[in-house]
């Protein structure tokens, strides 16, 4: 399919750029780790409370790190009128959206893969066997974040105070994802199983599907404005 081809092209370009310069990934990684350190100083977490608080703190760290990635997302396109060139080409706008979503998702997943175990080590947590299930929930949440975040990264592209405006608009709309992810992870840590968390997971999947579709349809108008 043409759309898929174009998406892969742009994605490949972004991945290659990132591989060579490693700007975003390193910055995001260090920022995420730094946040963990700050959380450790800011919050006294007794052992019994660790399971309760871990999901929230982790997800907070991912949110802020992810936002950092989002502000960088269209950076390459902003330089040298790249975006105008892309828009002049007959490329399907939606493929740009898809490529950016996948790119940001890729970055965030890489970071989560590292930060999750790091968090576990730094905060002396047990339940290592639950990490895969936790990661699955985080994965679904990250999709939601990337889907909406990419759209709003484009929306705030030419706005002043962009770094402040993006979270201001994005975070209230992300509340279902934040709640569902954190509660889901908490339930898994408490009970060790998925069963009670199903309604939250369904909400997450619903959110992902709805806003992936909406973003896919609307992106064209946003980027051409």
């Amino acid at each position: 399919m043409e759309l898929l081809k174009q998406t892969l092209w742009v994605l490949w370009k972004d991945l290659l750029l990132e591989l060579r310069r490693r700007e975003s990934i390193l910055a995001m990684f260090f920022f995420g780790t730094l946040l963990l350190f700050v959380f450790h100083f800011a919050f006294e977490i007794p052992a019994e409370k660790a399971a309760e608080m871990a999901p929230g703190l982790l997800w907070l760290a991912f949110l802020f790190t992810g936002t950092l990635g989002l502000t960088q997302l269209f950076q390459a396109e902003r330089e040298n009128h790249c975006l105008d060139a892309l828009l002049l080409s007959p490329m399907d706008r939606a493929s740009l959206y898809l490529a950016k979503v996948f790119f940001n998702l890729f970055l965030m997943l890489l970071i989560e893969l590292v930060v999750f175990p790091l968090f576990w080590v730094l905060f002396n947590l047990a339940f290592w066997n639950l990490l895969p299930s936790l990661f699955l929930v985080a994965f679904l949440g990250t999709i939601g974040f990337c889907v909406l975040g990419t759209l709003f990264s484009a929306v705030t592209l030419k706005a002043r105070a962009r770094e402040l405006l993006l979270p201001l608009i994005l975070f209230p709309l992300m509340i279902p994802v934040i709640l569902a992810t954190v509660r889901g992870m908490e339930i898994i840590l408490r009970t060790g199983k998925f069963t009670e968390a199903f309604s939250w997971l369904r909400l997450l999947i619903g959110f992902d599907v709805i806003f992936f579709t909406v973003g896919f349809l609307i992106f064209e108008w946003v980027i051409e404005a």
Binding site: I175, L179, W200, I218, A225
Partner: protein
């Protein structure tokens, strides 16, 4: 064209006068005629403005959604002005809802704020409205600002049911032990004049809302016309 404007202006004036009438009657019923609640006492009277406020806030959000959708589809300036006006008035009514809810909460629950579902949802609604307006003001290009805030308007509205669900689940699964259930209105033995008070105040708010919206819309239209005239110096 002049005829339509005049008809609109007249309709607006009629709405305004009706609103005033309903407001006055509503005040009478709310403060004098309706009896104090069996459980909450006189404090319950705040509900006669609180419930209409919250409904008006949601109505406003719906109009922002409609305006945004129409604008994204047809790109007519009019729809953008409608959305913008509804957002502005929506911020007003949403803020009032939160303030009323907080004032009601102090004697009822003993605290000025609690993270119960209703208050939390209203606060989130306010945040989305504010985001909409801030985006507008921070984007310099008029047209881009309109398109981008329309996107926020559409997505915000679509998100509301999901936000609703998640917040309600969160609150019902994590009920703090000592607090009573704040999202149930403890109205037993509803006296008829209480219902009348609520109905009249509800009508009053809706009428007032549409009066304000129509006025704000007209102001927006005229400001647009001024801009066009200044820009093109007489050619319309």
């Amino acid at each position: 064209m002049a005829g339509t404007m005049q008809k609109r202006g007249r309709g607006r004036r009629v709405t305004g006068i009706l609103a005033l009438a309903f407001i006055l009657v509503g005040l009478y019923f709310a403060l004098i005629e309706a009896p104090p609640d069996a459980y909450q006492g006189d404090v319950q009277r705040i509900m006669y403005v609180h419930i209409p406020s919250i409904l008006t806030a949601y109505l406003s959000f719906f109009i922002v959604f409609i305006g945004s959708c129409l604008f994204l589809w047809k790109r007519e300036k009019r729809d953008d002005i409608l959305a913008r006006s509804a957002a502005e008035i929506g911020v007003l009514f949403t803020s009032l809802t939160i303030i009323e809810g907080s004032i009601w909460g102090k004697p009822t629950w003993g605290v000025w704020w609690t993270w119960d579902a209703r208050l939390t949802l209203t606060a989130i609604l306010l945040l989305i409205f504010v985001g909409y307006l801030m985006l507008r003001s921070l984007i310099e290009d008029e047209n881009r600002g309109a398109v981008c805030s329309a996107v926020v308007g559409v997505i915000g509205f679509l998100d509301i049911p999901l936000i609703h669900m998640s917040v309600y689940w969160w609150r019902t699964l994590h009920q703090p032990p000592s607090i009573l259930r704040p999202d149930k209105l403890p109205w037993e033995n509803v006296h008829p004049s209480m219902l009348i008070a609520l109905a009249v105040n509800f009508a009053a708010f809706i009428l007032l809302y549409f009066y304000l919206l129509s006025l704000r819309f007209r102001v927006g239209e005229m400001e647009e016309e001024v801009k066009t005239l200044k820009l093109y110096g007489g050619a319309s």
